[in-house]
């Protein structure tokens, strides 16, 4: 460990502000991009499933009106 204590680690010499805000902003951007990628996947899946269900319902209705 390069630091004496946890308080030391947080202080980063006198540069705690710079180091931790750099890592904080980086973490935020990386996590946001991962979450958006995941959400996009779910959304497309949901939209396609919904379209499919609607198509099936339409087909059923058409069948009934024919008979």
């Amino acid at each position: 460990m390069a630091f004496e204590s946890f308080a030391d680690f947080l202080a980063m010499g006198k540069h705690g502000f710079y180091v931790w805000s750099a890592y904080g902003i980086s973490a935020f951007l990386i996590i946001a991009s991962m979450v958006l990628a995941l959400r996009g996947q779910g959304q497309v899946r949901q939209t396609l499933a919904r379209q499919q269900r609607r198509a099936e319902l339409d087909a059923e209705v058409n069948d009934e009106s024919r008979t």
Partner: protein, 255 residues
């Protein structure tokens, strides 16, 4: 031999369906490996690497700054290649990749700029300087944003890919400027201490955590690209039977 392997890969991964299956197999492994590698590198760099004799602890920003910057540059090179293939050969998967590579690259370019500024203040005494390295990096971020925006603005996906592909190709010149700006012209930014060929001038106790975080972030970039590409493939192939089957098989509780 090598050429044939490349050709085979090109044709296999060029098929959207094959790509989807392939990425389903890769992602469950790649994701945890990427996360563990990145966290190992960062914890090592932040907590265990020695402090710098000139900069003290502010230099620890390097463990995210350099991986993010190199990732943004490499990502853009990949974007340029995808653009070339999409424009010249109209390959579907290249169009998909054009869309999948850009967002994380833009995030990395932004991280590079922000962490660079936060590192510059305690080291150089200023957050920002309009010099060659920083300005060209800002342009890189704009190129990424431009590629994303073009794809969102143009309705027809094939047309959008052509426009975005052209922009991606042109922007490769800027990547070269970013890379060599520290050697060609006077800038505040230091030259690279990590060298692929020849002796690196960075202390090994700092080099290893840096290389590990770099690898970790690059792998995470790959994960992000695969995830986004899968979404795009699914959407583009939505009228095909295999996607229809995939959607009906309820994986999680359907709403």
């Amino acid at each position: 031999m090598v050429w044939q392997t490349i050709k085979r890969w090109y044709h296999m991964l060029g098929s959207p369906r094959y790509f989807y299956t392939f990425s389903s197999l890769v992602l469950p492994w790649l994701t945890p490996i990427a996360l563990v590698t990145l966290l190992t590198g960062l914890v090592w760099g932040l907590g265990f690497a020695p402090s710098d004799y000139q900069q003290g602890n502010s230099y620890r920003i390097i463990f995210i700054h350099v991986p993010a910057s190199s990732g943004a540059l490499m990502g853009y090179m990949a974007l340029g290649v995808a653009g070339l293939v999409a424009v010249v050969w109209r390959m579907k998967m290249a169009e998909v990749m054009l869309k999948a590579i850009a967002p994380f690259g833009a995030a990395l370019a932004a991280i590079s700029l922000v962490t660079g500024a936060l590192w510059g203040k305690p080291t150089w005494g200023t957050y920002w300087q309009w010099d060659a390295r920083m300005t060209s990096m800002l342009i890189l971020l704009f190129m990424y944003v431009g590629v994303i925006a073009l794809q969102n603005v143009i309705r027809d996906p094939r047309q959008a890919a052509r426009a975005a592909g052209l922009l991606a190709m042109v922007g490769v010149i800027n990547v070269i400027i970013v890379k060599y700006s520290v050697e060609w012209v006077q800038t505040l930014h230091q030259g690279s201490t990590l060298k692929l060929f020849g002796e690196s001038t960075i202390n090994p106790a700092m080099k290893y955590p840096l290389l590990i975080s770099m690898l970790g972030l690059w792998l995470l970039y790959a994960v992000n690209v695969l995830m986004r590409a899968r979404t795009e493939v699914m959407w583009r192939e939505r009228r095909s039977k295999w996607v229809a089957k995939l959607v009906t098989r309820p994986e999680k509780g359907e709403q």
